[in-house]
Structure formats: structure tokens, C-alpha cells
Amino acid sequence: MLTLRHSYPEGQSKPVFRVPFLIAIALAIAFGGGIWSTLVALDATIGFGAIRLGAWEAFPEAQTAKADPYAKSHRANAGKLLYASAEGLVFTAAVDETGARLTGNCSYRLTGHTPPARFWTLFAAAPGAAPPSAQSDLPRALNSRMVLRDGDGGFDIVMSATAKPGNWLAVPEAGPFRLTLTLFDTPTAGSSGLIDLSMPRIERTGCGNA
């Protein structure tokens, strides 16, 4: 005992406490980092294999056996009923054409055409929130049968928290939101990327009361 005490100056810990301390650091980083990184990864993305068209992204293989491990893990954790390939394909957008986050404080215009589909629906919801009700007083969800179009079959939808003339999609009043565009019975779902797909553009028209 005496020799041990002499070999270390005053104020320095004995090596006896050093090994448990190092093991505790390693374990804390391993478990904390492992669990945290998994939660972040499963929350941030649906997996690999996305189709990205402008601001829109879709995961045509997320519901199949060919999905990557992250996609399988994500869908097992989220527990959603996904659309199969003959049913439809879901495109989501969280940013506008310039890459800025979509927020309820600003107004946006959605112009152009969707890829070929028999029917489509469009709604906005806060991230993680439930889709809006069809019985809502405001037009929180639109579909291809209720949208007014121009001579080419294109549409021009104004997305804003306050009422606008023409096609108006009511978005959540404040905070970020995500757009969900679901194409039903579309060849896009089985597309190998060879078809030239055009998605409607999302452009910001103004913020605040502008």
C-alpha cells in the first residue's frame, strides 16, 4: 500500500478507478451513439432508392422485398399501410424549388403537370401529423377532379394559410409542413427512370402578409 501511494503524486487518481472509467466511456458512447444514430437515421429518411424530381421524392420500392434494410426497418417502425405498385405512388416535398423549407408563414404556387396517373390527391400536413380530414371546412386537400386547369391541362394551385382566388390549398398556419402528392394507378410506380417524368414546380410567392 505504501509503495502504491508513493508512486502517485497528490491529487491524481489511482489506476484502480481508471479502468472502470474507461469502460464506462466506451459503453456510454457505444449505446448512446448507437441508439441515437439509429433513431435519427430512421426518422430522417424512408431509406435508399428514392426517385428525386425537383423538390419531390418518392420511394417506389419501399413496400417490396427488394427494399433496403433501412427502408424495411423504417416501415416496421412506422407501421403505415403503404401503397403497392398497382395502387399508387406517394411523392412528398418538404422544400420548395430553391431548397428552402416549406412553411405556413409563406405562400407558394404549385404549377405544371403531374406524371400520367388516373387520379391524384394533394394535401399539406405538419411533419408527423395526421392527414387532414375530407370534411374540413377549408380546402385542406385537393384532388385531380376538383382542380381547375388551363388549356394544356396544367394547373396552378396557390398554397397559403389565408384564402386565395382560383385553386387554393389551405396549409397549416405556422411552422413547417410537408406536401403529399399521391398518384393512383400510375405507370410511374413501375418506372425504371426511363420515362421523362415532370412534377409540378413549387415556387414561393411571398411571406408574411405579402
Binding site: A76, L81, A84, M146, F184
Partner: protein, 193 residues
């Protein structure tokens, strides 16, 4: 002495990071097998198998809800290990319906919509490869118009969706889903021994 200690701490941190990476992979790969929030578990929690359950706009006690305000949805859990399953629904003018068959890991087995079906009527038989072979040999007249689907996994679930583009279609869509059946097919092969 402090330099050695700093090196030891660094080594511990690196070991921790390698452990974190391993744990990340283990969780991601094993989560689908152990998840109790996946779609199949939730469909099973709706109630007994072999009947359709309509989903509402708010999550029910099983945690399932409609994905889209314009789409009415019904789910049915099945187990074809005892015998094939038959899905039928008469079409009373629904503008669009679609059916997806998933196995217990939520992998898509089969999907169909009203345009790809025969005459817009839902008539699908889900069977294991062995059942399907004897079904094809016997060719029961009741199944002459049915679409036969082979599944290697005996257990799974079915999602039936019906479109409501305008509120006036709600009754037709509701009727379509409530008349849909998801029942084991009563059929005995004569060549059974």
C-alpha cells in the same frame, strides 16, 4: 502520466464509436423482426382474422388510420395454412379501387386495381403453392373467373382501398368496402387422401 491517460480515453472513445456503429447495424437489421408497431401487428390487433375492418381518420386502438382524405381503407389479416382465402367485392360504381396483399413482413405479394381486374369486380384467391396446384387440377367452377395468387408465406394481410373523389361518392365507396369479403374458401378436393 496525463498523456497516457488522454490516449487511453481516446482509445475508449474509438472503441465506443465502433461499438455504436455495430449496435446501429444490429438495431436496423433486427428491428423488422422485433417491432411491435409494424403494420402486420397492427392489423392483427384490429380483431379476429378473416374479416375486413374499416379505418377511420383518427388512429384506432390498433394505431391504424386512413393515409389519404380521399381514400377509404379496409384491412383484413389472413392465414392460408389451413385453406385458401377468397376476396370478393361487387363493384357498384366505385371510380377506383385497389387491393394490396402483403406478407407478415409487410412485403408486397400482389396488388391489383379495378382496371387490371376482370370486369372491374374484385375476385381474388390467395393460396399456398401446394393448395394452388390442387386448385388448378380440380378447377372448381366457382373459381373460373377468379385471379389466383400464390403466396409462400401463409400469414399476411390485405389492404382494400376505395376512392372518394367527391363527398357524393362516399356511400358507394362505403358500400363497396362493407360488402367486401375476406373469408376462407370452402372447397374440398375430390382427390384428397
Amino acid at each position: 502520466m496525463p498523456r497516457i491517460f488522454a490516449l487511453q480515453v481516446l482509445f475508449a472513445a474509438v472503441t465506443g464509436l465502433i461499438g455504436a456503429a455495430l449496435l446501429h447495424l444490429v438495431i436496423v437489421l433486427l428491428l423488422p423482426d422485433f417491432s411491435e408497431r409494424d403494420a402486420y401487428t397492427r392489423v392483427l390487433a384490429e380483431g379476429e382474422s378473416h374479416r375486413f375492418y374499416r379505418l377511420g381518420e383518427k388512429p384506432d386502438r390498433a394505431g391504424l388510420s386512413k393515409n389519404d382524405p380521399f381514400v377509404d381503407t379496409a384491412v383484413c389479416a389472413f392465414d392460408v395454412s389451413e385453406g385458401p382465402l377468397r376476396l370478393t367485392a361487387p363493384n357498384g360504381g366505385v371510380p377506383f379501387w385497389s387491393l394490396a396483399v402483403y406478407d407478415q413482413s409487410s412485403n408486397e405479394v400482389f396488388s391489383i386495381n379495378d382496371r387490371t381486374s376482370a370486369g372491374g369486380v374484385l375476385d381474388v384467391v390467395i393460396a399456398t403453392p401446394v393448395q394452388l396446384t390442387s386448385l388448378r387440377q380440380a378447377q372448381p367452377p366457382a373459381l373460373s373467373q377468379s385471379i389466383l395468387v400464390e403466396t409462400t408465406q401463409a400469414e399476411g394481410y390485405v389492404v382494400l382501398r376505395s376512392l372518394v373523389p367527391q363527398p357524393s361518392f362516399a356511400d358507394i365507396a362505403s358500400q363497396f368496402l362493407s360488402q367486401a369479403t375476406c373469408t376462407p374458401f370452402e372447397w374440398r378436393s375430390r382427390s384428397r387422401f
